[in-house]
């Protein structure tokens, strides 16, 4: 969508120093333009560098190349300004000291000194993340899927009353039941759409990415191998990405269903 405002742009961005983890050594360079109101799914095999790419977008790592947010280098933004515009949900959730769920969600709004609607927003965002019943629980008593929902609620709370921001999410749905996955993905999409937030999500499920995201970024061995719209169905690119054959099943009125085909896996057995 070229009409939309440029939100974030990466030009030849790669990690600056060689990290201790050897797998990060040959990463990038990445060049991506992200516009407002886009919905982008990042796909790729495990260890391809998806999470690192997302972390680079959060400014977490030292990087080379140009990383700009709203046409201003990210280093020139104050962390507090950015907190009003950008929310990040990492893959691993940690919370020392067994904080209460309510407190964790309210921490999404920690940057605001005066926040009269805090209680309302915490309630509303926990409702949106299907975590309302968890509000009075302590964090360590939660299961993995429940923790994921609490942190999703924290992201919602952070950008609840903002517009035109960006939401970066790293595999939010992995620890959830199938029904809840669909439910929560719908909730995330609705949250972003209502507020014109851009959504960048790392996903494992090909079908969810094709169905609900209009742009796919495919990553393999630390490089972007394709950056393409989700229609027409990117069957060949995905087959190449994961090194398997996919079967395309047409569905009336909806996008084609892509399923891993059994013939592609036969050599394993």
């Amino acid at each position: 969508m070229p009409t939309n405002k440029l939100l974030m742009s990466l030009k030849d961005v790669s990690l600056q120093k060689i990290s201790f983890q050897a797998c990060l050594n040959n990463l990038g360079p990445f060049s991506i333009d992200i516009r407002s109101n886009e919905r982008i799914a990042i796909l790729g095999p495990s260890g391809a560098g998806k999470s690192t790419l997302l972390q680079i977008m959060t400014g977490l790592h030292q990087h080379t190349g140009q990383l700009e947010f709203l046409e201003k280098p990210i280093g020139q933004w104050g962390v507090q300004e950015l907190a009003y515009k950008r929310a990040f949900l990492p893959q691993q959730h940690e919370a020392a000291f067994n904080l209460s769920t309510k407190l964790i969600i309210s921490l999404g709004r920690v940057v605001r000194d005066h926040d009269p609607d805090l209680i309302q927003i915490v309630k509303a965002s926990s409702r949106a993340a299907r975590a309302e019943h968890l509000l009075n629980r302590s964090y360590q008593s939660l299961s993995g899927g429940e923790k994921a929902r609490v942190h999703l609620a924290r992201i919602f709370a952070q950008l609840w009353d903002q517009e035109n921001g960006i939401v970066l999410i790293d595999e939010p749905l992995t620890a959830l039941d199938p029904g809840l996955q669909i439910d929560l993905l719908a909730s995330i999409l609705e949250f972003c759409q209502h507020r014109s937030h851009t959504l960048v999500a790392i996903l494992h499920d090909i079908q969810q990415a094709i169905d609900h995201f209009e742009r796919l970024i495919l990553i393999k061995d630390g490089k972007i191998v394709a950056d393409l719209p989700s229609v027409p169905s990117p069957k060949a690119e995905l087959e190449h990405l994961y090194g398997m054959t996919l079967e395309s099943i047409p569905r009336p009125g909806r996008k084609d269903l892509l399923l891993p085909s059994s013939s592609g896996c036969s050599h394993i057995i």
Binding site: Q55, T58, G59, L60, V79, Q80, L82, A83, Y84, R86, A87, F88, P90, H93, E94, A95, A96, F97, N98, L99, S100, K102, L103, I104, S106, L107, G108, V110, V111, L118, I119, V122, K123, E132, L135, N136, Q158
Partner: protein, 349 residues
């Protein structure tokens, strides 16, 4: 169902339950202080005075010896409690403690060095400044160790609890070597001063030092109150806290400065008193939960309470002799630490 329940934990106001905890802790503290005033080699019974003859002696002991010491014990205890709560918040780890991590011994080593190697400095400086030699040396030592620890643990073993504690052990060993060297080079008089550092004692209490320490504690307390919400955010991990708009570098530096300042003052005037800073925040957390807005003040209260208890025991168990207070805090703290390890066993591996 949730509509009417007060959302304590993140509301700006304290719940009634928490307020009551403060009130109860304060009452216990004051009662203990009043009892501690009476106990000692000379019994002071201020409820029914008998003869005017004893009044003078009693008054002197009460006002110049016992009262400053009791208040000093509470102030130092509160400082240690606050330093402990801040350290645990900074390292996001309930096992962190300025003593275990080597911060206190760093301060002690610098103070030891100051005693042994700057013997002539004391003559040059005017008397009013001499009281600050040890604290400032201790402060430099504590600050150095804090920054070293922060960097080293992050560089060698990022994110590991065991890594942090092991780094603390290594630093403790290094610092112990320096203290050992200083002891070896010290003369008799210096040696007597040095033995004070290894055990810790509140016998040096007087009104001047007490007022200074209260001043230090108040500054640290009000400053720390501005950081509590940020420390809460820090417990979600550095990556997340940064995204929430926390200036991590600044927050780290401020906490480190405060921890170094508090530990240094405590060490400079009372020597090394272990475990108070480990236990007090744990008790606070067990009572009011993990929210640092409540943990910090309550850690101070319990720190004061614990050290008052330990010091009163130290003064009164073997009258007229006095047992170093460090022995009692260690007797209290070591089993406590072991029980913590037992509970945390799984999380550590």
């Amino acid at each position: 169902m949730h509509q009417n329940t007060p959302l304590k934990g993140y509301s700006k106001f304290m719940s009634h339950q928490t307020t009551w905890m403060y009130v109860i802790a304060l009452i216990v503290l004051i009662t203990m202080a009043l009892m501690a005033v009476m106990l000692g080699p000379v019994e002071i019974n201020y409820l029914n005075r008998t003869s005017a003859q004893d009044d003078f002696v009693e008054n002197y002991i009460l006002w110049q010896v016992r009262l400053p010491r009791i208040l000093f014990a509470m102030t130092i205890g509160a400082s240690l409690g606050l330093a402990g709560a801040l350290t645990q918040g900074l390292f996001r780890n309930p096992l962190a403690d300025p003593g275990l991590l080597g911060v206190s011994s760093g301060a002690a080593a610098a103070a030891t060095g100051a005693i042994v190697f700057s013997g002539h400095l004391a003559w040059v400086l005017p008397e009013s400044l001499r009281i600050w030699i040890l604290p400032s040396a201790a402060f430099c030592g504590a600050l150095g160790i804090c920054f070293l620890l922060d960097r080293l643990a992050k560089w060698l073993t990022p994110g590991s609890v065991i890594g942090l504690l092991l780094t603390g052990i290594a630093i403790n060993a290094l610092v112990a070597a320096f203290i050992g060297l200083s002891t070896y080079l010290a003369n008799d008089e210096q040696l007597r001063n040095l033995s004070f550092w290894t055990m810790g004692s509140l016998a040096g209490a007087n009104w001047l030092v007490l007022v200074l320490m209260i001043f230090v504690l108040l500054i640290a307390f009000f400053f720390s109150q501005t950081l509590t919400v940020q420390i809460n955010a820090l417990s979600l991990g550095e990556a997340v806290a940064g995204q929430l708009g926390i200036n991590l570098k600044q927050l780290r530096q401020r906490i480190i400065l405060m921890v170094a300042f508090l530990s240094a003052c405590a060490v400079a005037w009372c020597g090394m008193i272990g475990f108070i800073s480990l236990i007090a925040p744990h008790i606070a957390r067990a009572i009011v939960g993990p929210d640092h807005r409540q943990v910090l003040p309550l850690s101070m209260l319990f720190g004061g309470l614990l050290l008052l208890l330990a010091d009163t025991l130290a003064r009164t168990v073997a009258i007229p002799a006095e047992i170093p207070v460090g022995i009692f805090t260690a007797l209290l703290g070591a089993p406590f630490f072991l029980s913590l390890l037992a509970r945390q066993g799984k999380a550590l591996t």
